[in-house]
Every structure is written in C-alpha cells, then in structure tokens.
Symmetry: C2
Subunit: 213 residues, 2 copies
Amino acid sequence: MAVSNHKDTGKIPEPTLRRLPWYLSNVKLLKEQGCTYVSSTQLARGTGIDASQIAKDLSYVKLAGRTRVGYEIDTMVGVLEEFLWPKETHRAFLFGVGSLGAALLQDSGLKHYGLEIVGAFDVRSDVVGTSINSIPVFDLSELHERMRGSGVTIGVLTVPIGVAQDVTDLMVANGIKGVWNFTPFRIRVPEEIVVQNTSLYAHLAVMFNRMNV
Amino acid sequence: MAVSNHKDTGKIPEPTLRRLPWYLSNVKLLKEQGCTYVSSTQLARGTGIDASQIAKDLSYVKLAGRTRVGYEIDTMVGVLEEFLWPKETHRAFLFGVGSLGAALLQDSGLKHYGLEIVGAFDVRSDVVGTSINSIPVFDLSELHERMRGSGVTIGVLTVPIGVAQDVTDLMVANGIKGVWNFTPFRIRVPEEIVVQNTSLYAHLAVMFNRMNV
C-alpha cells in the first residue's frame, strides 16, 4: 500500500527522479566491488552526469558527501533503495491483455520493484476467465466489485488507443489513483490522478529516427 | 555519450519526437469516427498540448494546416505513420533473457512497430538453446558469428546491471548501431551509437513518488 512517508522530501523534480536510479545502480556495482566511499567526481565519471548536478540531486534525498571522502556507499544504497522502491508494494490491476499486456503480466521484475499486479481486465471472451502467470483475467464489467477491498491503487493501461480514454475514465471512477499508461494515447485525468507515460513504441520511433539521421 | 548525436540532419527535437505519436493516435481515432479535417485547436483539446506547439511540431514533418479547415487527416496519418515507423523493420538481438527480456520476446507489438527481434543471447545453460515465441536463445559467446549476415543493427539490453556495460561494449564491438537500454544503468557508448533509455522500474519509481507526495 502507498503510504505518504515521503512528505519531508517534498516534491522532487522529475529529471532528478529519473537520475536517482542511475546513481543507485552505479553505487551498487561499486559496493559489489568492495568500495565503501565514493566521490561525486567518481560518480560523475560513472554516470556521465555533472558532479555538481549529482550533489544537488542527492541533496533532495538528504544525502550529503563528506569533504575528501565523499558519500558512504552503504548509506547511499539504503537511502536510494528505500526512497525509490519503498518496501510496501503497490497493488495494481492491468487493463488490456493483448500482446504487451500479457508480456507485462509475465515480468516478475515489476513485483520486485514494488508493483504487484493482482488482476487483469479485458472484454474478449477468449481471455476472460483465463489466468497468466497466476494472475486472473476478469471481464471489465466486474471492475467495480473487484475493486472493493482489493487495496488496488494503480491501473496499468495496455488497451488499444480507441478505448484508452474510456478505460481510464472507468478506472478513475472506480478509485484508481495512478495510471501507468503504455499506450501512445495522451489520456486526460483529473488533477489529483498521477499518470506515468511509458510508450515503448514511441521510444522505438525516437530511436529509429536517431539512427536514420 | 550518445543520444544527442544528430548534428547532420537531426532537426527534430526529442520532445517533438515524443509528442508526434500522441498526435497520430489522436487523429487515428478521429479518422475512425469519420472525421476528415482537424484544426490544431481541436488537436490541442484532444492531447492537452498547446495549439501553437502542435503547429510547430507538425511543421518538422512538413505538415501544414490550411486556414479555416486545418489538417487533412488522411495525409496526417500517412505522414506520421511513415515517419515514426518506417515500413522497413529494423532487426535486433535481445541480450539477457530474464523476466523482462522474456516478456519482451513475447510482445509481438514490437514487430508491428518496426522492431523484429530475431535472436536472443544469454549465458545461463538453462535458457541457452531454448526458444521463446519462436526466437532462439544463443550463448553470448556466439555473438560474433551470429552477427555475420544477420542484418541486425539494434541491441535490446535487458541484462543485470552488473554486466550492462560489458555487454554493451561487446555489442558495439560487433557492429550494433543502436542500444535500447531497459536497465537502470547509464551505459557509455561511442558518440556515433544511439542509445534509447527505457527503464520501466525507474518509471515506476517516478510514479510511486508522485503518488506519495
């Protein structure tokens, strides 16, 4: 369950949030190699991010380096892991068991990083009633009753674009607080709802374009 | 570092590239509904992007609206689809057949959007020699010979962070021109190599943080 235990850190800029996992993966490697302290200069070399930017980013999670020795790696790993992927998992429903939706149901890495998909919804009779990776697929008409007592706060959106907005509206009406949108459709939500856009196919388009020039 | 190496003909800013799929999905819907022309004001309402920004973005792909009638939808769909996902597919190898890697091998949507994964590599004896969704898994030591004549230009990186850089170096040494990096590790590549970062777990962290503040 989501618990508001980050209030003291305030609102961290999104670019910083996106860089924190880079620092974490970098220091985890250093830790494996037996390193105990790391300077921001070293971190800069490892991640390609400017050292002063790193210091600023880390200050958002109250990590400060010590003169000459730098950051203590154990502390840094602990703080960043707890901050980025709090121990409590967030429960989610997935909407749209097509090719991508089914693939995501099979990625147990999501659970490891705090997202537990406990059910999926679709409208096609050939998938409703089945289960994938032990996750049951329900008919979309059952959403209201399935939400009750489920503890689900997140909806993973992998439906065709033609119904992306309708399904989002339905989620929100049923109490979903965050939508992880894998469609290339720009969904509209009330102000208090969090949307995270991750369109794999849009990323592909960006990559192809960069490779062709 | 990669990603920003498009001095020659790369006139299209990355934010524009990321918005183009939103416009495309929006007009595809309108087209289904029988709409033939759309104004940038209407597009702005549908996507939440400023109308003048939309006009500017579309001008990069040589799409111009006509006074009073706006953009012709058929042309817009055609131009954007061809631009974003050119007809030729790009051939790719995937590296690291863990949970996420295996999930991606099962997403046939990738092929639909121009990425054909024709082989995968791992080092674990329990997966090497198997195949997933008819895609064979080879031992990493075979990369050099498997690259020959394969037409593969893209590497999909889904390995553990501890080997992300080594596997990237190996890819690049064997002629890979673009790396789709799903790890939270910030890989370093020669200037001419394109990197697209898509860390699902970093996106999760951003979403959790936004929901908690």
